[in-house]
């Protein structure tokens, strides 16, 4: 591995800051294996295209044409030999070999929106005794720089009631997402006009002074995490322009297209380019209990175009090899077609994709049976997917956080990365 001067300095800064970090991660950081690992992670980014509500694997990445469960759409060949996906994704079909691995054998067992989302956000089932961080928070911690002037974790979820805000769990609020639910621009990060910049700095200094007094002789993970969050306020305030797509050329905006999802993908690219380690773009709402095929005709067109342009753009900028683009939601959809020509919730055999960083383009892992009712080969769970994601990013999924005296591995106990989809 080649170490750049900048990368070394970033790593050094990270190390110095970490050494004095006051939150619960301190112990954990002392356990990290080597400087080389830290430096290796620099610059790795993740964009999660969260297919909220549950996209149909049969109308996306695991078609079953001609089967009773297959629906009306054809399967089309992709640029990867022998790999076919739905005809609703023609642009992605042309990019599979170059960019994308498909995992077709997820069995995540929970087909309830809330429960399924928790599993797919955290990579494990809920534990009443501990609040696990979600993937965004883990990546924010593992990939972010403590001295970063940009947010570590941005989550855009502008549609659908019951929006999933994400959680940093036991990692504390330092790694909580900047959550955009009402518009594509973050709200309440601009300095009030009634407060001068000088006043604002003075207020921060005062808060810092009071906080230091308050935390004297107090050792609390959450206090440390809150302090770090405040220390980053001015950086977050300066990031507002990253969310403004008007900063892009008209040509670039046209490439991403007019849909909100397309525009959010453009923002996601701007964010990772500026160093934001984790961006989640939730595209709602795939929950097609009625008219599944018409719904997927619309939503797949949006996904196909936006994801393809995003991958191309990242590649053109030299970012794709450092940026992992993921697609999944809380579950897939039933192979059976109901009377409203809909598909219902289904978690027993469904698909996810990984593109870019650390991923073997064109790989297609796992297999479902001929009608898609169950996994026929290579069954994996959410923990395995998380282990794969972290491995693709160069993060050891077996690494442990210490929560009190309890070691918690980054990916669930026993989870293993899917080596076939990794470089």
């Amino acid at each position: 591995m080649t170490l750049s001067r900048r990368g070394f300095l970033n790593g050094a800064a990270l190390g110095t800051a970490c050494t004095f970090a006051s939150d619960m991660t301190r112990l954990d950081l002392l356990r990290q294996s080597s400087w080389a690992d830290e430096v290796k992670k620099q610059g790795k980014r993740v964009i999660l295209l969260w297919l909220a509500g549950g996209a149909s694997q049969l109308e996306t990445f695991d078609p079953k044409p001609g089967r009773p469960t297959g629906g009306p759409y054809r399967a089309i060949p992709t640029s990867a030999t022998g790999v076919h996906i739905s005809e609703l994704l023609p642009k992605m079909a042309a990019r599979i070999q170059q960019t994308t691995a498909i995992v077709r054998s997820l069995n995540t067992k929970n087909a309830d929106h809330g429960g399924g989302a928790t599993i797919m956000e955290t990579g494990r089932i809920k534990d009443p005794g501990i609040e696990y961080p979600d993937l965004g928070a883990i990546c924010a911690k593992e990939l972010g720089r403590l001295d970063s002037a940009v947010p570590d974790y941005v989550s855009m979820y502008t549609s659908t009631e019951g929006r999933r805000k994400g959680t940093s769990g036991f990692l504390g609020s330092r790694y909580a997402p900047m959550f955009l639910s009402e518009s594509m621009q973050p709200e309440n990060i601009r300095r009030l006009e009634s407060v001068s910049d000088l006043d604002h700095q003075d207020r921060l200094a005062l808060r810092d002074l009071l906080a230091k007094k308050f935390t004297q002789n107090r050792h609390s993970d959450s206090l440390g995490s809150h302090t770090q969050a405040y220390q980053r306020v001015r950086g977050l305030m300066a990031s507002e322009k990253l969310f403004d797509i008007e900063q892009e050329s008209a040509e670039m905006r046209a490439k991403y297209g007019p849909t909100q999802f397309g525009q959010q993908c453009l923002i996601a690219r701007r964010l990772v380019e500026a160093g934001v380690p984790f961006v989640k773009v939730a595209r709602a709402w795939w929950d097609s209990h009625g008219e599944n095929f018409e719904t997927h005709r619309e939503l797949c067109a949006d996904l196909d175009h936006s994801m393809s342009v995003l991958l191309d753009d990242l590649k053109d900028r030299g970012l794709l090899e450092h940026t992992l683009v993921l697609t999944f939601g809380e579950f897939g959809r039933t192979p059976g077609i109901n009377a409203s020509l809909g598909r219902d919730h289904f978690a027993a055999a469904w698909s996810a994709t990984l593109s870019g960083c650390g991923v073997r383009g064109g790989a297609c892992y796992g297999k479902t049976d001929e009608d898609g009712h169950k996994v026929a080969d290579g069954e994996v769970g959410a923990g395995d997917l998380f282990a794969t994601i972290l491995s693709a990013l160069g993060v050891d999924p077996r690494k442990e956080y210490m929560v009190g005296a309890r070691p918690i591995p980054l990916s669930d106990f026993g989870a293993k990365p899917i080596k076939d989809v990794l470089i």
């Binding site: 009306p72 849909t259 709402w285 109901n338 009377a339 409203s340």
Partner: protein, 349 residues
């Protein structure tokens, strides 16, 4: 004489392994030819003691069969999501001609009253007319935008010939209907039914609905448009079945009916030949039929059917109804005691 809708009674339903998307009936018989989700055409004699569907053979369609018409005693023509039209020898149940008709999914076929011209509509937003005998394309036309106002692909679901064969109506996802002169392909009118298109800008950020059924009245003056009303939660077909009736030459909406009994999608519309009522049918979880008085615009009779109905046909004497849909075929007759049965519960999605 018009059949009395209140006498409607389901007399038989037959389970089938696939979803029947469309149907045509051999005249003066119980022989139905239906297109299906198994990519095939099937024939079934519903009057047989133990009716069993028989599949058509040969190299057929590669996707759902969404339209079928009979263009003579031995000619069936089918259209499919695969974009193909296939001509069939009905007796041999073998294909005789294939035409790559559309670039995208064929949603429905129509046939002129003299059975000489076929109309096909597809998601390439084109209506194409075909010589039913030779398979030659006669003309094509479109007044339907490929994208919705919200920048998603639109769909062209519905087509119908007028009773005199002079006009053709086409209806799309966003509720736009164009009426065409069949012989020239000139557009002679438009009507708008945006109430059949639901765009959810906030919670779901996609759409549902659209015009799914069209029918001209026997005097050709009225055009009925069917689909589903505005949906709150577009995950389900969770809104009243909706029809609108236009005096299309004046561009006036005469009636609009949001069905108060059935939350469902209208898939098919049939006018009573005597012009007294309009039959609408479709479904969500279950199926329904509603007869609407053309004078008042009010329902005369409504009833539940055992499956989501995708298409239906009446017999020549207008006293028997053959409906096909979700894994079932239902036969109804207008022969019950005039006192109607207890009202059916609304269909649930």
């Amino acid at each position: 004489m018009a059949a009395d809708p209140v006498k409607l009674q389901k007399t038989k339903d037959i389970g089938i392994p696939s979803i029947a998307m469309c149907v045509a009936r051999t005249p003066n018989s119980g022989r139905l030819i239906f297109g299906s989700s198994d990519f095939k055409l099937h024939e079934i004699d519903v009057f047989a003691e133990n009716p069993q569907p028989t599949s058509f053979g040969g190299e057929g369609h590669q996707s759902y069969v969404t339209g079928v018409v009979l263009a003579g005693p031995n000619i069936a023509i089918s259209g499919s999501y695969d974009g193909q039209l296939i001509w069939w020898d009905v007796e041999k149940r073998e294909p005789t001609r294939k035409v790559k008709a559309h670039d995208l999914w064929i949603r429905r076929l129509g046939i002129s009253p003299d059975s000489k011209v076929i109309a096909s509509v597809a998601d390439d937003m084109q209506c194409k007319l075909w010589n039913a005998e030779t398979g030659e394309m006669l003309r094509q036309f479109s007044d339907h935008k490929p994208m919705t106002p919200h920048n998603f692909p639109s769909m062209l679901h519905a087509v119908a010939f007028s009773s005199n064969g002079k006009f053709i109506a086409t209806g799309d996802k966003v509720g736009h209907v164009a009426i065409w002169e069949a012989t020239s392909g000139s557009k002679v009118g438009t009507v708008e039914a945006p109430g059949l298109y639901t765009w959810d800008p906030r919670q779901r950020r996609h759409s549902i609905g659209g015009i799914r059924a069209l029918a001209f009245s026997p005097d050709n003056n009225l055009l009925a448009v069917g689909g589903i009303g505005q949906i709150g939660n577009i995950d389900h077909l969770d809104a009243p079945a909706r029809i609108e009736i236009f005096d299309w030459q004046k561009g006036e909406r005469k009636h609009e009916l949001n069905n108060d009994k059935f939350k469902a999608l209208v898939e098919d519309l049939v006018f009573d030949p005597s012009g007294q009522w309009l039959l609408s049918s479709g479904g969500a979880g279950d199926g329904f039929v509603t007869f609407t008085n053309l004078e008042t615009g009010k329902p005369i009779h409504q009833d539940k059917l055992p499956m989501h109905v995708h298409q239906l046909v009446l017999n020549e004497t207008n006293d028997m109804l053959f409906a096909v849909g979700h894994h079932k075929i239902a036969i109804c007759e207008f022969k019950a005691d005039p006192s109607p049965a207890a009202p059916a519960e609304p269909a649930k999605s």
